[in-house]
């Protein structure tokens, strides 16, 4: 166990200890309020470039396992918790969280007042931060902070997208697939792939830089634009590709994919103060007025006002802060959601939204 420090760009710092990898790591510090699902969060590519603090104080209770991963890697830049559990318990567990983090070279800090940190982030907004187990001189840390890039304008997608195209397959499923989906991988979560495949899709995963021709070459029934990290404004190549898909194919986007769709529809995105990261956000479906509790993980948001009301309608809204949660095009088969219908972690209330994508592809055929 070694002393560790979490240093924020406003000069605030928290001293704790580190059990896993030693060193120094930098990123944007965000908090997540989900009470379970740390393994999914750690492996979610959308967290690339971020240091994640969990507001729930006991982390690692049920260990880690082979199944609950959202990608093949751990993407967070650092992990901040109140207390790591030293002895997990769950029938599926294969490894302790501490060992897992160590194996993936993730610097983690524990033993700090994560609620105070969360309050700080709420009041001042998401900030850049450094976790270090080797440098404790505040001036030197402040100097280092200058080199840490801002999240705004940063293209993290290129760090996490697949290097080459592949077809996803679920372990337990070799049934005949009805639809061919081209998925633009901006940092796609495995659970999206699992669900689409289960719903009868053969999912071809493309690098985010894929051109429209590459996509069209597989003759897909629809295009899926995935979640991912960073600022949508930096992913101009994906925005262009998606724009070219409009009118040709049904398009379905989630999270960053939704923001990309929004930009492709000439909407604007802005950065939220401290983002939405959790599993308890109420979202109302404006079509049938039903409310679902959703999983959320985004720092940027599509500005409702920037969208052309004659073409685009708002179909989902966040009841906490009235931000846009879902849109659809009035004439073309374009649909996208800011929240995560695939959950993992979080409630499954919005999972039915994938059916809409299937329906769009189905009616696109006829």
């Amino acid at each position: 166990m070694r002393k560790a420090i979490l240093y924020l760009e406003d000069g605030t710092y928290f001293v704790g200890t580190s059990l896993s990898t030693q060193g120094t790591s930098a990123g944007e510090v965000v908090f997540n309020t989900a009470m379970s699902g740390y393994q999914e969060i750690l492996t979610d590519p959308s967290y690339a470039g971020q240091i994640v603090t969990m507001t729930y104080p006991l982390i690692g209770n049920y260990g880690v396992n082979e199944e609950d991963v959202e990608s093949n890697n751990v993407h967070v830049k650092g992990f901040v918790v109140k207390e790591f559990c030293r002895h997990h318990s769950n029938f599926r567990a294969t490894q302790s969280l501490i060992d897992y983090l160590d194996e993936h070279n993730i610097i983690a800090i524990e033993g700090i007042d994560t609620r105070a940190l969360t309050r700080q982030l709420r009041v001042k907004g998401a900030m850049r931060g450094l976790i270090s187990t080797e440098e404790f001189d505040l001036d030197k840390l402040a100097a280092k902070m200058k080199d840490v890039p801002s999240m705004e304008g940063a293209d993290w997608v290129k760090e996490v997208t697949t290097s080459k195209k592949y077809i996803w397959s679920n372990d337990d499923d070799d049934s005949k697939k009805k639809y061919k989906v081209a998925a633009i991988d901006c940092g796609i979560k495995f659970n999206i792939l699992r669900i689409l495949t289960k719903l009868g899709c053969e999912v071809h995963v493309f690098p985010a830089q894929a051109s429209i021709d590459e996509i069209m070459s597989i003759k897909p029934d629809g295009v899926f634009v995935s979640n991912g990290p960073g600022d949508p404004s930096a992913v101009t190549y994906a925005v262009d590709t998606v724009r070219q898909c409009f009118g040709k194919l049904p398009v379905f986007g989630i999270c960053l994919g939704h923001q990309i769709v929004g930009q492709a529809l000439n909407g604007k995105t802005f950065k939220l103060k401290f983002g939405h990261h959790g599993a308890n956000h109420p979202v109302q479906d404006l079509l049938d007025k039903r409310i679902g509790i959703t999983s959320q993980n985004h720092g940027f948001c599509v500005d409702i006002e920037s969208l052309n009301k004659d073409e685009v309608e708002m179909i989902d809204i966040n009841l906490n802060d009235q931000t846009l949660e879902g849109l659809r095009h009035k004439k073309m088969p374009i649909l996208s959601f800011q929240h995560h219908p695939e959950a993992a972690p979080g409630p499954h209330d919005a999972m039915y939204l994938f059916d809409y994508f299937i329906e769009m592809m189905e009616s696109g055929r006829s």
Binding site: F14, F31, T33, A34, M35, S36, G37, Q39, E40, T55, Y56, P57, L58, N61, Y62, N65, E67, D68, K82, E83, C85, R86, H87, H88, S89, N90, F91, R92, I112, D113, T114, R115, A116, T118, R119, R122, G278, A279, N280, H281, P282, Q284, K289, R290, I291, I293, L319, N320, A343, A344, P345, G346, P347, H348
Partner: protein, 1095 residues
């Protein structure tokens, strides 16, 4: 859609007396509902038989009926009030069953009353085992293999098919009465018989045992637009096999991955939809096989419950309040989250702390009962603790229980316990199992071994091991260095160690540790319970302590102070902690009233309590709520932050009183009656001096510490004597003994209970009438608000005794003398606030038995009977007002046209093998109130309320001790006049026959060769409708035990004193003469010509 406007008047059903399995959590839910619905403009009719509740205060409803919760009486209320709807989902199982009855007997249809929240079909589907199973199978849920049985034949057949071990659960009961595990046919027969008996429809479920599986609960809410949210998940530390009310439970769930949790969440959504609960809260229980994750649905409650009260306090999400609002048409998104004020109630709370609930047992009150836990609930209360780690929350909960443990500590020396005993106490669930985990760790057992034996998840055992390891580290360090370094001290506090625990290790006292750590800046910080893990700004001031960097209480207090033009004075009220026999809802009632009164006067009211069931721990009662154990350390931590101008200790029962002198010594400004006066009343010698000075009489007495001295005093004052420890409430370890031998055999128990304080010995005055007096004093003037005459003789604890306002048999001049004596005692003690005095009246002589300068258990009863809000007035007086500022007059009380009877409710049916006899040690869990125009009517109603309705015809068994034999003749004659047949055993029969009473003589037991009938058989065949049995002083008690046990089993009212018998006869006469009449408190007070004073 906004609220409904087609309904105007709503009947809300309460849950009746506090019983095991149904406690003050339903006062909390009912009070919330009353408040919410009245704010929405609905006219509320409230029915509840429990006078100690806050909801039955006349200001909480438009029409408050303290009447029996039976279909007949509720029908009468409906007929009179004509409500549009009834809300039955906030009054526990009692209200639910009542609504079902009213539906089935056609009352609801007849008066066109709609059921809100859950309708008949929904309740039936959720509560009827068979219907529930069908519903679960329909939606593909996994459930245990099982069968339903209505008689023994069916039960045995089912057992053979499913295979042992089995679990037996009766339908339509509360708290799992009558259920249990069966490992073989013999056990099955015994448990099934009880189950069939205790089920309302004689139905039991026999199912595959899932003993030892992990147990979970989810609290679910749904609105009429089918929006569903999960408020909280709860994981039980004690695995399946222990009633969830008796389990240590933890929120949120700890050992579920998100995948598993979401499967459970999805199942909950499907279940609430399939069962069809339209609006409101429900609780769904699951079991998970720890080996493979197989998840089984256990049961669902389509109403708010104990767990929902816990979940509300654990998350800050007020389930009952929202359930009431949803019932009248709101949807979750239309309701604002009170705490954040900017987000809607349609969300799922995120919590950033760990909540541990621990049950409080009172097996010490029932020494004959084993402290073994099973599917039938045994605990009488609970405490909740919040911490930033599980370890901290667990240790806080254990010290918050107030059972002599100061944390996960070492009450006994593990070396004195055999391995076998530790193994057995870990294996068989029992009230102190958690501490056996500690002993096992001390014995060096591995966590794997402990988990295997106890079936407690290893996650919990490991957490406890961490506490144990840290303790060892501190012990070793201290041994080597005679000092504990700062980092270790801080870590100990983060792990929840109390200063007392550390003092034990560091061979010093609590205060030294406190000062030491304060000097090192290791001080408690306070965090907010805000429903959202700090994601949004929170406005509701609900705090818990922990050892962290940031203190949000200080931040909030500073902010508030800067906003006030003139700083508000602060008064802190110390609550009563977990409910127990002798200290329950009555004291919470007083605390809540104090808070209301102080807020009205412009003070900031600060509440401290650790009981999640209560109204006082509702975060919108006081200006600030601290959810903390009521120990010196925890209270002082709050005082350090708050710096209150006054602290009230006289409302929360014995718990805060026990802290009074130490707080006083620490310089805490205790307001009201001084600590010196409180101590004077408890100090035997000083008290005797006071009585002598006032030329009053008390029974001959003395106090002593050693056994020899005690025996000496007993001889001196003469047997029988009343022996008891000082500084306890509820008559703990209190007994009347008739000779030295019995005295000596009782000494161990009384010595343990007195914990070094002197033991008190009083001459016991036999056959005296006991009188309880509640009064308010401002130090100069005293107002006597209630004089209650007990129905049982002196010698039965006042908490167990029925009593009456006004006193029916005490003459005017004696009452005048009692009042005068009360005023003189109050003045001499300089009482500021409430005072309770117990007198014994024998002939013309008045003895002072006991003086308690504090709120008493009867304060709420007196308030309800007279309309005078005692606790409110007392709180204002403590805050500086004078009695003359209130328009109180005794004449107004005398003008009241009604009689009020308080009756106690006893838990004997929960503890098999325990003798049902009342004595100086309190055994009742709750109380009810009967109000009527005559004494007889009020008494009869009180008996119906207490679920021991007096019979209107049939046979009465009469058997009395020799001294009562002459007096019982008149009673027997009256019974004959009322058309009852009298049955007696030989002695009593002989006396009755000689006085021309037509009596049938029976034997006590089946004596084989004799032909004449025997009592046990008659009882079994339900051929006896009432028992009048006065046990003679000390002997022949044992003989009557089985008779009284049978009476309980068959729910036959059993009266054990002559006064009680007289009251019963009057009552039966009253029922016969009058038809059912109901009247609201508001009407009663009006008839007394505005006797209730506005405060």
């Amino acid at each position: 859609m906004p609220k409904r406007t087609d309904i105007k008047k709503i009947l809300l059903l309460g849950s009746g007396p506090i019983v095991i399995g149904q406690a003050c959590e339903f006062d909390y839910s009912g009070t919330q509902a009353c408040k919410a619905l009245r704010e929405e403009g609905y006219e509320i009719v409230l029915a509840n038989s429990n006078p100690a509740t806050i909801m039955t205060d006349p200001e909480f409803a438009d029409h408050t009926y303290i009447e029996p919760l039976t279909p007949e009486y509720i029908a009468a209320i409906i007929e009179k009030e004509r409500p549009c709807a009834v809300l039955p989902t906030l009054g526990g199982q009692t209200a639910l069953n009542l609504a079902m009855n009213l539906y089935e007997d056609g009352t609801l249809k007849k008066y066109n009353v709609e059921m809100l929240g859950a309708n008949y079909d929904v309740i039936k589907k959720a509560e009827d085992r068979h219907c529930f199973r069908e519903a679960m199978l329909k939606i593909g849920m996994d459930i245990p293999r099982s069968a339903v049985a209505y008689n023994m034949e069916e039960a045995k057949k089912a057992a053979k098919e499913i295979g042992f071990p089995l679990i037996i659960r009766p339908s339509f009961t509360l708290g799992g009465t009558g259920g249990g595990f069966a490992n073989d046919m013999e056990e099955l027969e015994r448990i099934a018989a009880l189950g069939i008996e205790s089920s309302l429809n004689n139905e039991i479920l026999i199912e595959e045992s899932i003993f030892g599986w992990k147990e979970y609960e989810l609290e679910v809410m749904r609105d009429h637009k089918d929006n569903v949210v999960i408020v909280c998940s709860i994981e039980n530390l004690d695995p399946m096999g222990v009633h969830t009310g008796d389990s240590i439970t933890v929120a949120p769930s700890q050992t579920l991955t998100d995948r598993e949790y979401q499967v459970m969440r999805n199942a909950s959504l499907e279940i609430i939809r399939e069962i069809g609960v339209e609006t409101g809260g429900s609780n769904i229980q699951f079991a998970i096989n720890p080996e493979n994750g197989r998840m089984i649905v256990i049961e669902m409650n389509p109403r708010v419950s104990r767990s929902s009260a816990l979940a509300s306090k654990a998350t800050g999400f007020p389930i009952a309040k929202f359930a009431a609002m949803l019932a009248v048409g709101y949807t979750l998104d239309e309701i604002q989250n009170d705490i954040t004020k900017e987000t809607p109630a349609c969300f799922e709370p995120a919590i950033d702390y760990i909540v541990v609930k621990a049950p409080r047992f009172t097996f010490e009150k029932f020494p004959e009962a084993k402290d073994i836990l099973g599917v039938q609930m045994k605990s009488v209360g609970e405490t909740m603790a919040i911490g930033r780690t599980f370890k901290e929350a667990l240790q806080k909960a254990l010290r918050g229980l107030e059972i002599g443990h100061v944390g996960f500590d070492n009450k006994w020396n593990f070396r004195d316990l055999t391995d076998e005993k530790v193994r057995w106490r870990l294996e068989e669930p029992n009230a102190s199992r958690i501490f056996y985990v500690k002993y096992a760790l001390q014995k060096g057992w591995s966590i794997e071994k402990i988990a295997e034996i106890s079936r407690i998840d290893i996650w919990f055992i490991f957490q406890m091991k961490q506490i144990f390891d840290l303790e060892n580290e501190i012990v070793d360090t201290f041994r080597k260095e005679k000092n504990v370094p700062d980092n270790l001290l801080r870590k100990a506090k983060e792990y929840g160690f109390s200063d007392v625990q550390l003092a034990q290790i560091m061979e010093t006292d609590e205060l030294q540790v406190r000062n030491l750590r304060k000097s090192k800046n290791i001080i408690a910080t306070f965090k907010l319970v805000d429903t959202c893990a700090a994601e949004f700004e929170a406005y509701t001031p609900y705090f818990y302590s922990t050892y962290e960097a940031e203190d949000e209480a200080r931040i909030q207090i500073e902010k508030l102070t800067s906003q006030y033009k003139q700083p508000k004075k602060k008064i802190m009220i110390l609550g009563g902690g977990p409910n127990r026999i002798g200290q329950g809802i009555e004291f919470d009632y007083c605390c809540v009233h104090a808070s209301f009164a102080l807020k009205d006067m412009g003070f900031e009211a600060i509440m401290v309590n650790s009981n999640p069931e209560t109204v006082s721990t509702d975060y919108d009662i006081s200006d600030r709520l601290y959810f903390e154990p009521l120990t010196f350390e925890d209270v002082m931590n709050i005082i350090d932050v708050e710096q209150p101008d006054g602290v009230i200790v006289q409302f929360g029962g014995q718990t805060p009183l026990n802290l009074a002198s130490r707080l006083h010594e620490a310089g805490v400004p205790i307001i009201g009656t001084s600590v010196l006066s409180i101590e004077l009343a408890e100090n035997r010698q000083k008290f005797s001096e006071l009585i002598n000075k006032l030329e009053l009489v008390q029974p001959a007495n003395g106090s002593a510490v050693s056994i020899d001295e005690v025996a000496g005093i007993a001889n001196q004052v003469g047997y029988p004597v009343l022996v008891r420890p000082s500084y306890v409430l509820g008559g703990r370890a209190m007994k009347i003994v008739y000779d030295e031998k019995k005295l000596l055999s009782f000494m161990d128990e009384v010595k343990e209970a007195s914990q070094g304080h002197p033991i008190l010995i009083d001459k016991f005055i036999e056959d005296a009438i006991e009188v309880d007096v509640d009064a308010i004093s401002d130090g100069e003037e005293t107002f006597v608000a209630g004089i209650m005459e007990h129905i049982e003789n002196a010698g039965i604890h006042s908490g167990d005794s029925a009593c009456t306002i006004p006193p029916p048999t005490i003459s005017e001049d004696l009452i005048a003398k009692i009042k005068k004596d009360t005023c003189r005692i109050a003045k001499e003690l300089k009482v500021i606030g409430l005072i309770n005095i117990q007198f014994a009246v024998k002939g013309r002589r008045i003895f002072v038995l006991e003086v308690n300068p504090r709120a008493s258990r009867t304060s709420p009863f007196v308030s309800k009977a007279t309309g005078i809000p005692l606790a409110k007035i007392a709180a204002q007086i403590m805050a500086g007002k004078k009695l003359s500022e209130f328009s109180l007059s005794y004449e107004k009380i005398q003008n009241l046209k009604h009689v009020s009877v308080k009756e106690s409710v006893l838990p004997f049916s929960r503890f098999s093998g325990v003798d049902i006899v009342l004595g100086p040690e309190m055994k009742s869990t709750g109380e009810v109130m009967g109000i009527g125009k005559t004494y007889g009517e009020a008494y009869a109603k009180s008996q119906i309320c207490a679920n021991s309705a007096l019979p209107q015809k049939g046979q009465v068994f009469v058997s009395v001790k020799d001294e009562d034999k002459r007096a019982v003749v008149l009673i027997a004659k009256k019974l004959m006049d009322l058309g009852f047949k009298v049955v007696s055993t030989r002695g009593t029969a002989k006396v009755l026959r000689s006085s021309d009473v037509d009596v049938t003589e029976v034997a006590r037991y089946d004596q084989g060769q004799q032909i004449k009938e025997n009592l046990m058989t008659l009882l079994k065949n339900s051929e006896i409708d009432l028992i009048i049995n006065t046990p003679s002083g000390e002997s022949s008690q044992y003989d009557m035990r089985s008779i009284r046990a049978a009476a309980i089993l068959h729910a036959i009212p059993c009266i054990t004193t002559l006064q009680g018998a007289w009251a019963a006869v009057n009552g039966m006469e009253a029922i016969r003469q009058e038809k059912i009449t109901v009247q609201s408190l508001q009407e009663y007070y009006k008839q007394g010509e505005g006797s209730s004073c506005a405060v």
